[in-house]
Structures are given as structure tokens and as C-alpha cells.
Symmetry: C2
Subunit: 213 residues, 2 copies
């Protein structure tokens, strides 16, 4: 069955790979599944046809036969369950990999998105200079703990998994703040993710959409 995902017609990041369709493209590339992409304008995101697919009016969505999914974590989980390559076979290792997916999306992404929001929406506010360090401290607190856990390991828990795919994707969003590079082992971990052929193909595919925008 054909897999169709949605992506921004013009990504706000201009093709740096930070829009969430990149996570889904990466997962599909890791498991070797071809997919089609339907591009969506900002206007169309908020219209009923797209809302029927995605209640929160965002990208990506995922359609495959009768199945429609809308949340990156749910989509990647579905891909990982249906195809080999993103979750370990052993039940306990599998549960730990899934735990890292949730840790990336709930514990680690939260302060990182908060920091992006401050930098995007509060730069002209009178409190920006005082509040920015408070939010940066929350990101450092989280990344410092993750760096301690990762240590010298290649991936978070054994071989590369959907947990790493999601964690690398989330950490990439902290790079422009400069904070990621304060943790050399995390920066190297992210670089290992970016060096994977599947990531490179996913990145190139989203860049091709956004090139010249």
C-alpha cells in the first residue's frame, strides 16, 4: 500500500531539516519504505480537509490504505512496529527503546521548544534579556543529564533505534542556540545520527522541497 505523508510547502526553517516531516522521512528511509509527499500550504493546514487528518492543524500526517495517523511519535512508532530496523526484537530492549522515544518527545523536547519559542516570539519583549537565561538553564539542565547518561556510548541503549532517531531529531533543534555544542558527547551523538545514510536521504528529500525558498 502506498504511504503518503504531508510536509510544509515552504518550511519555516527553509530546509534545515527541523520540520517534523524529516523525522518521518528518516524512519521510512531506515526501514526502506518508499513514500509519497503531499505538500500543504500554511492556509490549508487550518482548513477542514487537513484538520480531518490532523486535529491540531500541523504536519506531518501519514496515510496508508485505511489508516491515517497524525503525530510524529505515533507515526514513527507505527513504522517501527510494522518494519524491522528501528526496534530491538527482545521485549525488554524494545520497551527501553520506546521509553527513549517518549523521553525525547516529552522530557527533552519540552525545554528545547520553550527556548525556540522565546527566541522566536519574545525577542522584542522587555523581559527577553532576563528571561532567556532562565529558559537556557532549563535546556542545559536537561542536556547535561542526558550527556551524563549517554557517556561514551554510541547510541542510548545498544544498537541504533527509534529512540535514537527521535532523540537526535529533538537535539538538532537545540543546535542553533549553541547549547548542544557545550556537550561534546551529545554533539558527536547527533553527528552520528546525521551521518547515517537514511538520515542523509531524508534530509536531501526535504531540502529538495525547500531549495530556493
Amino acid at each position: 500500500m502506498t504511504i503518503t505523508i504531508t510536509a510544509f510547502e515552504h518550511s519555516p526553517d527553509g530546509g534545515r531539516g527541523l520540520a517534523r516531516d524529516t523525522r518521518v522521512r528518516w524512519a521510512l528511509e531506515e526501514v526502506g519504505q518508499p513514500y509519497k509527499v503531499r505538500l500543504v500550504t500554511f492556509k490549508a493546514l487550518k482548513e477542514p480537509a487537513h484538520r480531518a487528518l490532523h486535529p491540531f492543524g500541523q504536519i506531518p500526517t501519514y496515510e496508508e490504505g485505511n489508516l491515517a495517523l497524525f503525530e510524529t511519535g505515533g507515526i514513527v512508532m507505527h513504522i517501527a512496529e510494522r518494519h524491522a530496523g528501528l526496534l530491538p526484537h527482545h521485549a525488554n530492549a524494545r520497551a527501553r527503546a520506546i521509553t527513549w522515544m517518549f523521553a525525547a518527545l516529552n522530557t527533552v523536547e519540552m525545554p528545547i521548544v520553550e527556548l525556540s519559542t522565546v527566541m522566536l516570539l519574545e525577542r522584542d519583549k522587555p523581559w527577553y534579556q532576563e528571561r532567556l537565561p532562565l529558559v537556557e538553564a532549563r535546556v542545559r539542565d536537561c542536556l547535561g543529564q542526558l550527556a551524563t547518561r549517554l557517556g561514551d556510548a554510541e547510541w542510548l541503549d545498544g544498537p541504533f533505534s527509534a529512540g535514537d532517531l527521535m532523540m537526535v531529531s529533538v537535539l538538532l533543534r537545540s543546535r542553533s542556540s549553541g547549547i548542544l555544542d557545550e556537550y561534546p558527547n551529545l554533539a558527536a551523538y547527533v553527528a552520528r545520527g546525521e551521518a547515517r545514510p537514511a538520515y542523509k536521504r531524508a534530509f536531501a528529500a526535504q531540502l529538495a522541497v525547500n531549495a530556493g525558498t
Copy 2:
């Protein structure tokens, strides 16, 4: 095998059920699994023994034989995969229920936690009065879209699932702001969750720990 979870010795909410162990207790009650609880002080949360279980120094954790898990989403997912009652059998319905778990933890909880943070940590800041409405608007935007999707349905997608368990748990954290009650169908949805016998047992169990604190 005995299941052991961790919870706060003294929950910051004094037993209102908002600490995350309640989510895990609820899931275990739904599937009828007994569990033990090890209480952890704030000091112990940050010590190496607990960090080995939970890299981010939080509760809850989950231990069962050789398996140790640490993130609420990962723990509930594990419980839902091992025992009947929290995920539909049909593959597509199952994928949608999992998607709602991720939507609760990534899309809906993010603005709700941001609002809690503002109310907890920024009340004495000079920007509080101006910033609070901006963050409240983000919560309203999110809850309004969720309310539209839920409509008159009893649960998010067919019978009660782990997706509802997580969404109700997340929405409960928005109630004290008054915003939840602005969406009567969401407030009624949360009340349906709280009325479930399994939730009541979970709530009573965490209250018993915190009573009198």
C-alpha cells in the same frame, strides 16, 4: 514478577493526583496488575542510585524483574502492550490509540506545562501580567482544537484506551488554571476518566501517601 514503581515521598501537589506516578498507577489498575511503591525523597531523586534508574532524576520509574523503565509514556506503553485492556486489538485502531498517547505528551502537555511553569516560577516577575495571557492563549488554542475533534464522543477514538488515559491525565493539569472548564466537552471527558473505578483506586492510593502532608 513483582512490579515496583517509584513516587514522591511528599508530592508537590499534596495529593491532588497530578504527580506522574498517578498515570502509571492508573494504567496498572486498568489492567488489574498489583504493584509495590517505593517512595523517594527530593534529595534521593538527584543521587546516583536513583539516576541509574531515571537519567533525569524524576519519578516514576518501573521495575519488573530485569526490566527498568523511567518515562511515564514508555511505562504506560509497556503495561498496555503486556496486558489486555489499554490498547485495541485491531492494528489500525491500536496505532491510532498510540498516536493519541504521543499527542497528549508532546502536543497537549507542552503548553500546559509551560502555563504551570509560568504560574509557579514567574509569579513574582515584572513580566508576569503581560506574559501570562500569551501562554494561556497557547493552551486555549490547543484545547480548543482538541475539543473540536472530541465533539460529542465519549473517548478520543472508540473505546477507552491508553490514549485517553494519557490525555485525561494531561488535561487534569490544566484544571486549576480554569481553562479546562471553558471547554465543557473536555471537562466532561476528564470527569469520565476520573469516574473510572481504576482511576479512583489510583487516586486513592497516591492520596494515602500524601494525606496529612
